[in-house]
Amino acid sequence: MEYKDYKVFKIEIKNAIAWVTIDNPPVNLINMAFLEDMDRFFNQVKEDDDVKVIVFQSADPDIFISHFDVTALTDFPEEPGPAATELQGWKKYFMDFRTLPKVTIAKIEGIVGGGGNEFALSMDMRFGAIGKAVFSQTEAAVGIIAGGGGTHWLTRLMGRSRALEAMLGLLPYSAKMAERYGWINRALPADKIGPFVEILANSIAYVSAETIAIVKRSVVVAEEMQRKEGLLEEGRLFAIAAASLDSKGRMNQALDSGLQTREAELGPKRRLEELEKLLGDIL
């Protein structure tokens, strides 16, 4: 599938990975052009069986995404209107990624705040470059609240106390502090984040599309269902996965090439040593 005529996204597909580079000068704002590209991209990629992993990165060396366009927010009417009953607008775009049966990754090597941070939070994983990535959720400073899912993602990811500190303290968070808080998966040295995300994305792309979809579904189930109901659903998903011909093929292949022999079981240690040669002592 071809990804053409985007205004602010540059999209390259390589080995089942969609590399989406956000290029919306001068500050990578989330404005109409961004949201239109987002909507188009989501609708195109969800139908694209050749893509298993989506990585968002920025063309701007200093800024990942600054925030939502504030000029669009000052136009709000004076009355709030009735409470919504469905997810709408930009929040819906962000939230659709949550259940998309593909893996989404934000590779953050610059400043990200406000709606940009909420976009990053709606991704499945976030990685930040040490010394370059700066995280914040600063809506309260202008008298509004995070309205793109931030209040929910932050609270669920790092708990009530750290979420309140982030949203009301208006402090900037370095990649290392963001990692300590659980805001991002890992803080990585600036020269290692590229190779790390590339290796990770390619590893994920090795997994079959069906398995990715089932694993992601089971995580969504864990977020949404009660424990017993969720465990029963996990059992159902496991049975579907184990019954698939692709899984049986992969399991037989693994057994044929020595799985469950001492030599083969030491594989993870060899893989770690291999990766440490490439990435240094960061794993």
Partner: protein, 282 residues
């Protein structure tokens, strides 16, 4: 004059922040009198629009709060009362802090165990001094269980396994481990703790009270509602925040004073400080 008649809390208010220093010698035991003052403070601060943030600290360099008065627990009858249908008095006080539309912070520079730890858990944020702050739940070694919300608040904050370790292990958790577990927000060197907490508290107090209230409400909802329902609620609260006059003023100033320019976005906090000063000057 507000905040009169407190014996065990030393209270001062400055620039929207109320500082309450716990002073109940010889070791800041959580007595019924101290409980009473926490309740009195929650009631009085609720009607004080000038206060947006409450910071608790201790006058005792070794103890934040020792724990609940065990001699009072020994007075329990031999038979348990019928199962309650409402929150008990202590829970009601703690819940008042958790749900009030103001931000509460514990600045912990000494030991805080048992009921004292549960009080801290009911506050919005906790910060601890490295090498000085020690947290723990010591009920199980005494043959009782945490009854001030600890068993319910800890798993929600840090997960079942770490909560279990704290509750049934009965051990001490120094600030650095407490931070790793998410028991406290951050562990800071002792000389950096007070400047950090004050900076944070004054920053929060510089934002509109209604924004703080909406943001806190949205966070509390995240723990109570299923995800999609919660996101819809967030949208409504967001809309309420966007239509407010204070928000429109701040957002306009943000745009006028360098927000959404390349230069401004690289140091967005400078822009925030500039217009905050302008608003404060008015």
């Amino acid at each position: 004059m507000p905040y009169e008649g407190f014996e065990l809390l030393k209270i001062r208010v400055n620039r929207g922040v109320l500082f309450a220093t716990i002073n109940n010698p010889p070791m800041n035991l959580l007595t019924d009198e101290l409980y009473g003052e926490f309740a009195k403070l929650a009631m009085e601060v609720a009607t004080d629009d000038k206060v947006k943030v409450i910071v608790f600290d201790s006058a005792d360099p070794d103890y934040f709060i020792a724990h609940y008065d065990v001699s009072l627990l020994l007075k329990y009858p031999d038979k348990a009362p019928p199962k309650p249908t409402d929150l008990h008095g202590g829970h009601q006080i703690y819940e008042a802090y958790r749900t009030m539309p103001k931000i509460s912070i514990a600045k912990i520079e000494g030991r805080v165990r048992g009921g004292g730890g549960e009080f801290c858990l009911s506050l919005d944020m906790r910060f601890g001094a490295i090498g000085k702050a020690i947290l723990g739940q010591i009920e199980v070694p005494l043959g009782i269980i945490p009854g001030g919300g600890g068993t319910q608040r800890l798993p929600r904050l840090i997960g079942r396994s770490r909560a279990m370790e704290i509750v049934v292990g009965g051990m001490d958790f120094p600030a650095d481990i407490a931070e790793k577990y998410g028991y406290i927000n951050r562990a800071l060197p002792p000389d950096e703790l007070t400047p950090f907490v004050e900076e944070l508290a004054y920053r929060i107090a510089s934002y509109p009270a209604e924004t703080i209230a909406l943001a806190k409400k949205a966070v509390l909802l995240a723990l109570e509602k299923p995800i999609v329902e919660g996101l819809i609620e967030e949208t409504h609260l967001f809309n309420l925040s966007c239509v407010s006059v204070v928000a429109k003023e701040r957002m306009s100033l943000f745009l006028q004073m360098g927000g959404q320019t390349r230069e401004g976005e690289l140091d967005i906090f400078k822009v925030v400080e500039k217009y905050t000063k302008k608003i404060e000057e008015k």
